[in-house]
Symmetry: C2
Subunit: 495 residues, 2 copies
């Protein structure tokens, strides 16, 4: 793989360099300007390679070529405590550039697993698993408007180290800003393991969506022209993509299949008496309080999400859960229309913003499942987008659970008669009137489509780490107890 | 001050409570709904008081009354390292709720100085200085759309401590989520100093903009009705405020006064030869590299801002500075139209977002001074707003410099003839054409107004910690050297 890079060391003389680079610079600036104007794609350029291969120089050169107002450097080293308190993917999501912008990434996700592997802190199979996940993630980004461009700057090991040594002053300060990423890799064994891992990584993550470019970096003029060409090709690709069709008109999703419906199998009328309710509610809330204020909870966290029929009692259930939580350590997130900062980024970005720190809880009243429910039924996004959302969501939730967040997902179900009764009640009651909108009435007409979408969703996203709990909610009291009992059980079983 | 709270302990029986609270709840929900719909004001409710007075209970009660989708708890304890790496005010700014929302604050800015004072970590004069700054800050918030409401829950000391003891389990876990803020205050002396400081604080920060309400919290029913009444009054006040006039039409700012003009006094033609330039540039960049990659820089940071005439060479100067910086530790911020998340918050919020961590640099190409330049000249905000901006900006910059950020402010000045020449040049040059807009031509017509605004700005915001540097920029080379030299000097003198 990429053996060519080791065979020859291409060189450019000054004259040839100027002749190539000057026209490129002009085109680069024009293309970047178009990217910034159209605001349809973001570009992430991941700069990897040996120390001393000129990662910092390359970065600086790009700043010379492009307009720095639409450019940002995303550099990752040791995680801060805010980052350590969240899934490792969180910091990359937090920094995601908006469409129209270019992010230059140093020390990104490839670097992290390479270092862990070279230091022997990651097994071969974990390394392979991480690679698969990277591929899925980069595919998702590329489908969601972010072009991922990966560069490996290659330079002979011995030369790179001589070069680095020259740049360091006696007191350790660097004469020029040099990017040193691999100083923990010492000795032949670790270096060999790093090289082997790097080649495996490049081979296995060179996908159609986000291929690697390995560039011989011995000669800076050659390196810079290659980078400039690559950037220009990427910008032109980004600008050439047609605008998404504004109103996708496609066939109705397949009508109710013969598959048995989980929802239809529920006995919605389950109920509980007032006394039993009061007693159980108190006991469950007390237990939830204990579990979430205990010392051990500081290394865990709760992500609760509520979906379900309109008027199924999500708000009431949330209130009962919330009352048991430390008010300083939870937040309730309603899903409203995305802000413009959210619209400018991949779909899951706005939910990543709300991922809680360890020791905290986030309660989502409606959630990322909107993609495969309302957006599917109301045709707000093309079928490709909601179809791929299932596996993207599974990845997302696995990233949460792997970082010790307990993900509990509720579907609150009521039957159409009960729903109608509650709509009428809301119309009559002043403090609840604002809860009922025209949309609620319209959704009722699409009940069959919503049911099909929900059944697909259960099938495709009820995973072992993050299963769905269907809640029979015709009786509010029964539903609230089931919600609390489920959360308590999930916390206890994962303790 | 508020002696009444210590004399009587008001009580409400259950019946009286229900009779009062039920109609209040309905009105509260309606008023909150209106706040969320109008999106014109945000509310910060700061909940302070003795431990055991029911801060957590009050918080929970508010969640019961209101719609939790537009409500958030902002709770501050020990700063994280991300917070420690920035000015102490940063974390409050970061969390600022958007208009239409209510933030419930625990452990806010009052708590911080009270604790420091009670522990003897803050002198009496520093305490008084902090109080003055709090007042200015709260006035700014209230003028910028954030209503600050401050509550002190008072309860007899001995009773509060008995109450707390009962709630703690043997293993330290709390039976209910109780807010414990003062556990570092121990012994009579510290408690006495805390009480004294609290009364001084309440007295001195009870302003027309953000008065304190001291509430007797012995009886929870009385406490809750008082809180509910207060909240309702605040919501109604927020909703009653008229929409700001959409196009303020007011008199032209006073024509050029008799005051001598700093700008007119500049000798814009200062220049430097090509050889001297190349030599000095290299030396200055090298020195800047050393200063910003040295170990000691990790506890400092740079905030550079560039204002000036259009085409005065801000971009070129920024490029020369940037080239000397570690590309992983700076960001260039152009000032574009605010996003909707930014428009929903006080003016300075979007700049607080970009305040760099220690060890990093932020370069602003145009800045918060837009308020007193373009917004004043083009009448984009009423005169009251830009008039108060001078002192708000001085406070902001003092907060930056106090936190070890070196703030360097440049005004790049060219004369009208040189500007015209550069405009024509830009029109002719393809890579620079996009830099010239219709606005640039229009701004030229308002040159006199911009000059008056700039002169006022120098007079009112050239402070000792953050002085302005006026740069004679008819000769680009001279200007670039002056910029670099100034930054190096400022870094050296503050070392």
């Amino acid at each position: 793989m990429f053996d060519s890079v080791q065979l020859k060391t291409p060189r450019l003389d000054k004259e040839a360099f100027v002749a190539v680079i000057e026209p490129l610079r002009e085109k680069l600036l024009d293309a970047q300007f178009e990217l910034a104007q159209r605001k349809r794609k973001a570009i992430l350029l991941l700069i990897n390679g040996s120390d001393g291969a000129g990662k910092g120089e390359t970065l600086n050169r790009i700043y010379e070529w492009l307009d720095d107002h639409f450019l940002e450097t995303l550099s990752y080293t040791k995680p801060t405590d805010d980052e350590r308190m969240r899934p490792p993917e969180w910091r990359y999501w937090r920094d995601m550039p908006a469409k129209g912008r270019i992010g230059l990434v140093l020390g990104g996700w490839h670097h992290r697993i390479l270092r862990d592997r070279a230091l022997g802190e990651m097994s071969a199979s974990a390394f392979d698993g991480a690679i698969e996940e990277i591929n899925r993630n980069e595919e998702m980004l590329s489908r969601d408007g972010v072009i991922v461009l990966k560069v490996w700057l290659h330079v002979d090991d011995a030369k790179a180290r001589r070069r680095l040594a020259k740049l360091r002053e006696a007191d350790g300060a660097l004469r020029r800003a040099v990017v040193v990423e691999w100083d923990r890799i010492k000795g032949r064994k670790q270096r060999a393991r790093l090289n082997e891992a790097a080649f495996a990584l490049i081979e296995k993550t060179s996908t159609a969506h986000a291929p690697w470019e390995v560039i011989a970096a011995e000669d800076w003029r050659y390196r810079d022209t290659e980078i400039a060409r690559l950037l220009l090709a990427t910008l032109e690709r980004a600008n050439a993509e047609p605008a998404p069709a504004s109103s996708p008109s496609h066939a109705e999703p397949p009508a109710g299949s013969a598959r048995p419906s989980l929802l239809a199998s529920l006995v919605l009328s389950k109920s509980v008496g007032a006394n039993a309710y009061a007693k159980s509610l108190d006991a469950l809330q007390q237990r939830l309080s204990e579990l979430t204020t205990a010392k051990r909870f500081e290394n865990r966290g709760l992500v609760l999400l509520f979906e379900g029929n309109d008027a199924a009692g999500k708000g009431g259930a949330i209130t009962r859960v919330r009352a048991a939580l430390d008010p300083r350590r939870f937040r309730v997130h309603g899903v409203a229309a995305p802000t413009d900062e959210e619209s400018a980024r991949p779909y899951l970005w706005r939910f990543w913003r709300d991922v809680p720190r360890l020791g905290h809880s986030a309660i989502f009243d409606r959630s990322w499942y909107g993609r495969v429910l309302v957006e599917r039924v109301e045709r707000l996004c093309p079928p490709e987008d909601w179809m791929r959302a299932y596996s993207e969501i599974n990845d997302f939730e696995r990233q949460l659970t792997r970082a010790n967040l307990v993900v509990v997902k509720f579907w609150m179900a009521i039957d159409p008669e009960e729903q109608l009764r509650r709509f009428r009640e809301r119309e009559a009651q002043p403090t609840k009137r604002y809860k009922l909108t025209k949309e609620d009435w319209r959704n009722r007409e699409h009940a069959r489509l919503y049911e099909a979408a929900a059944n697909d969703m259960f099938d495709r996203t009820s995973t072992r780490p993050a299963p769905w709990t269907l809640v029979e909610a015709n009786d509010k009291k029964f539903a609230r107890l089931k919600v609390l009992r489920t959360i308590v059980a999930r916390l206890e079983e994962t303790e």
